[in-house]
């Protein structure tokens, strides 16, 4: 029974996309309704699938396959694979997608091309679900690209304005760099294995057909794709700019789902990564560095959405770190919890922006009384994010820290410092926007309508509750041999100190202003500007482009113009010159021609004579 129905999960949003695109385009609310109906059915089915997994056990992955393309050497399939990982991701994607789509009803109500918005959202959900359920590399890659396209379309939703269009292009191009590595890796592994299928490749890796070194390179190449999609350090530049898109989009795509695709891919191919220790090391280091790097930048951002964007990058760094040190369950659990509270935070920020019509925190302030629902849900999300005890974040982050401490002390230190910064910048956001006296923009702010508040409340509840299911989650993901080590209360107590210290520092700075933040900024000017300018990474890329790439292309252009075209024109000139020279042979005198005739005959005769013909 089960696999057949499962096909509906990705199919329904896709169907919605088609229906909206072709039929219900002119009616805005009708399209919205179709989209929401599709995603809600998909949500219910996902819940059903998860419950089926919990009851029937997730050891044996149920696979349904349809041959899509057969050539002499390769045969590609489209399939659905239901196991622990995909089950969880299904639930995560569908719940967040549902919440966002309901929220969008309010947020995007004045938007004229609402049906286009919902069409893209449905297509995104369909491709994300397709990616999650993929049984082979080809389907994974196709959906991977589809997701990239949808993110481009949604970031650049308001294409008439320059900023969103530019941001969409930037996002697309940067992820392309990553996808290049991903494609090369994919080709290497698939041609070597002779098949796209994960199961076959897993069997071959287990059978040790390839050396660790070769597997390492393939893994690192695949990780490039993940790094691109999940905005890890070298390729993170596109995510902060992606905030130009509508906030619900940011919430869905740039917080919960798409950016998590990279992490999910690493988790899905964990058998490949774990086969080569240095690949794992790379993942861990990149994850760690990204975590601390993004966290530091987030400290000084003024735009509320950019703070959240850098926070997402930092949390993704944590997930990669967890996977890098071998904790696939911990990484996935953090992804699970992070999806909910980060979506909550973004939607909260969205309702604040919706009310104040500005992104800059320093223009808001004193919204606590005006928007109580938003305020309290936002506080719940922040606490979850900071990792304070009862909230979801605490359990997942603690698991990661616990794991990293065991493996690599230096990365552990980075992680701890990262979580300190996280706590600090979240309290900064809350103090600046909600507490304190009302500033310019918050004059006419008012609470957002219920259609936006309901998703906030649901997500808030989830952020609180999700943490407690960590043991069940671990048993589901690890299968059977649950670590059962449970929560080491002592370690937890120690690690609890860090977020609380962060919150305290944030309150002192921004509420009591004992060391005035501006004064601090002046004293640590160089550090402050460095963070403000985001470590000059964008400038570095521009410099690279201008100096190296353009310089080489200028050289190549010169070569093409002078050498290649030169040769062609040269030949033309040569023929023309010989033509003019040969013209003088035509003297017009018959006897000269006769001389040529007999001369030729004589020469031929001589040649024949010499050649011994006679």
């Amino acid at each position: 029974m089960f696999p057949g129905i499962l096909a509906l999960v990705p199919a329904l949003p896709f169907l919605a996309f088609v229906v909206i695109g072709l039929v219900t385009r002119p009616w805005r609310w009708l399209s919205a309704g179709v989209a929401i109906a599709a995603i809600s059915v998909a949500f219910l089915l996902s819940l059903g699938a998860l419950s089926f997994l919990l009851t029937a056990g997730a050891e044996t992955p149920r696979v349904v396959e349809l041959t899509w393309l057969t050539t002499s050497t390769l045969n590609a399939h489209i399939g659905l694979r239901l196991d622990a990982l995909s089950g969880i991701m299904l639930v995560v994607v569908t719940t967040v997608a549902l919440m966002v789509q309901i929220y969008s009803l309010g947020y995007m109500s004045e938007e004229p091309s609402l049906s286009r918005y919902y069409a893209y959202l449905s297509l995104f959900c369909a491709s994300m679900l397709g990616l999650v359920l993929a049984t082979n590399f080809l389907q994974l890659y196709v959906c991977w690209e589809l997701v990239g396209v949808c993110s481009y379309l949604l970031i650049g939703f308001w294409y008439d304005r320059h900023a969103p269009a530019f941001a969409a292009k930037k996002a697309f191009v940067t992820t392309r760099f990553g996808d290049l590595g991903f494609l090369i890796g994919l080709i290497m592994i698939c041609t070597a294995a002779g098949s796209f299928d994960f199961v076959e490749i897993q069997a071959k890796v287990a059978a040790g057909t390839w050396t660790a070194g070769w597997l390492g390179t393939v893994a690192v190449l695949l990780f490039c794709g993940a790094a691109g999609k999940s905005a890890q350090v070298p390729l993170h530049v596109w995510l902060p700019d992606a905030m130009e898109g509508p906030t619900p989009v940011s919430a869905l795509i740039h917080a919960a789902t798409m950016v998590a695709a990279g992490v999910y891919m690493v988790a899905r191919l964990f058998f490949l990564f774990s086969a080569s220790p240095d690949a794992m090391q790379v993942v861990a280091v990149i994850g760690g560095v990204t975590a601390i790097f993004a966290a530091l930048i987030a400290l000084v951002q003024d735009d509320i959405k950019r703070v959240l964007a850098y926070s997402t990058i930092s949390q993704l760094g944590y997930m990669m770190l967890a996977l890098g040190v071998g904790g696939m369950a911990a990484g996935m659990f953090h992804l699970f919890t992070h999806a909910f509270f980060k979506a909550l935070l973004f939607l909260g920020a969205g309702s604040v922006i919706h009310a104040t019509h500005t992104n800059n925190m320093w223009e808001m302030g004193g919204l606590r009384k005006k928007m109580p629902w938003t305020f309290w849900t936002f506080v719940a999300g922040s606490l979850a994010l900071a990792g304070v005890a009862p909230f979801a974040g605490f359990f997942s982050k603690d698991a990661i820290l616990h794991l990293v401490m065991g493996k690599n002390l230096f990365l552990f230190a980075l992680a701890v410092l990262g979580s300190l910064c996280t706590a600090f910048y979240m309290t900064r956001v809350i103090c600046v926007t909600f507490l304190g006296e009302a500033r310019a923009a918050s004059g006419h702010a008012h609470e957002s309508p219920w259609v936006m508040r309901v998703p906030l409340v649901i997500l808030a509840v989830l952020s609180v509750v999700a943490g407690f299911w960590h043991a069940g989650f671990e048993r589901l993901v690890q299968g059977g041999e649950a670590e059962a080590e449970g929560l080491n209360l002592g370690f937890a107590a120690v690690t609890q100190m860090v977020p609380l210290a962060g919150i305290l520092a944030g309150v002192m700075l921004y509420v009591l202003k004992s060391p005035d933040p501006d004064a601090l900024a002046v004293r640590f000017a160089p550090l402050y500007t460095l963070l403000k300018r985001r470590f000059y990474v964008d400038e570095l890329y521009d410099w690279i482009i201008d100096r190296i790439v353009l310089r080489c292309s200028a050289g190549l252009a010169w070569f093409d113009r002078h050498v290649v075209d030169g040769a062609v024109n040269g030949v033309a000139w040569l023929t023309q010159q010989t033509g003019t020279q040969l013209r003088y042979v035509q003297t017009g005198r018959v006897q000269h021609y006769a001389l040529a005739v007999f001369g030729g005959a004589a020469i031929l005769l001589a040649i024949a004579h010499v050649a011994g013909a006679f």
Binding site: Q591, L595, F598, A602, L605, H609
Partner: protein, 163 residues
């Protein structure tokens, strides 16, 4: 023996006639030289028992072409143009080398070859006729067409255009 004498005489006559035909400054003497050479050739044909060809050669060449050439020379003779400037000095060396060179090579080749001569039945007019009417019928009819074309062409070219 008498045949060899005749061959020598005719040979001298032919080559002498050719030399005069080419060398003589005065075109009338050149035509006479040509006639001498042609008659010599006819004699050589007679020696080779090719009677019809000898007669044809004399009848057409000496009786027709030579007359035509003489007429052409008379018609193109101009007061001012001395016939003496017969040879183009710039071309002489090249022509000499080519002419002599070609001849030398061919003669040397001929001298070294030893063709086996087989007694062959005389080609009388009757065998010639039989060949012409059967095997070579198409060229035979084409000859008449060729001559028609030559006549028409020459008349058109030579006739003064009544402008």
């Amino acid at each position: 023996m008498p045949a060899d004498i005749a061959f020598a005489m005719l040979g001298v006559m032919t080559i002498g006639g050719a030399l005069v035909a080419v060398g003589a400054g005065n075109l009338y003497r050149a035509v006479l030289g040509l006639m001498l050479c042609l008659v010599g050739m006819a004699g050589l044909f007679l020696l080779q028992r090719a009677d019809f060809l000898a007669v044809a050669q004399v009848l057409i060449y000496v009786g027709g072409v030579a007359v035509l050439i003489v007429f052409a020379v008379i018609l193109t003779e101009r007061e001012g143009e001395p016939l003496a400037a017969a040879v183009n000095p710039r071309m002489v060396p090249a022509a000499l080398i080519l002419g002599a060179g070609l001849t030398a090579v061919l003669v040397s080749v001929l001298w070294r070859s030893t063709p086996a001569e087989s007694p062959v039945a005389d080609v009388t007019a009757r065998t010639l006729a039989e060949a012409l009417l059967n095997r070579y019928l198409v060229p035979f009819e084409a000859v008449s067409l060729l001559l028609l074309a030559a006549l028409v062409g020459a008349l058109l070219i030579a006739k003064e255009k009544e402008s």
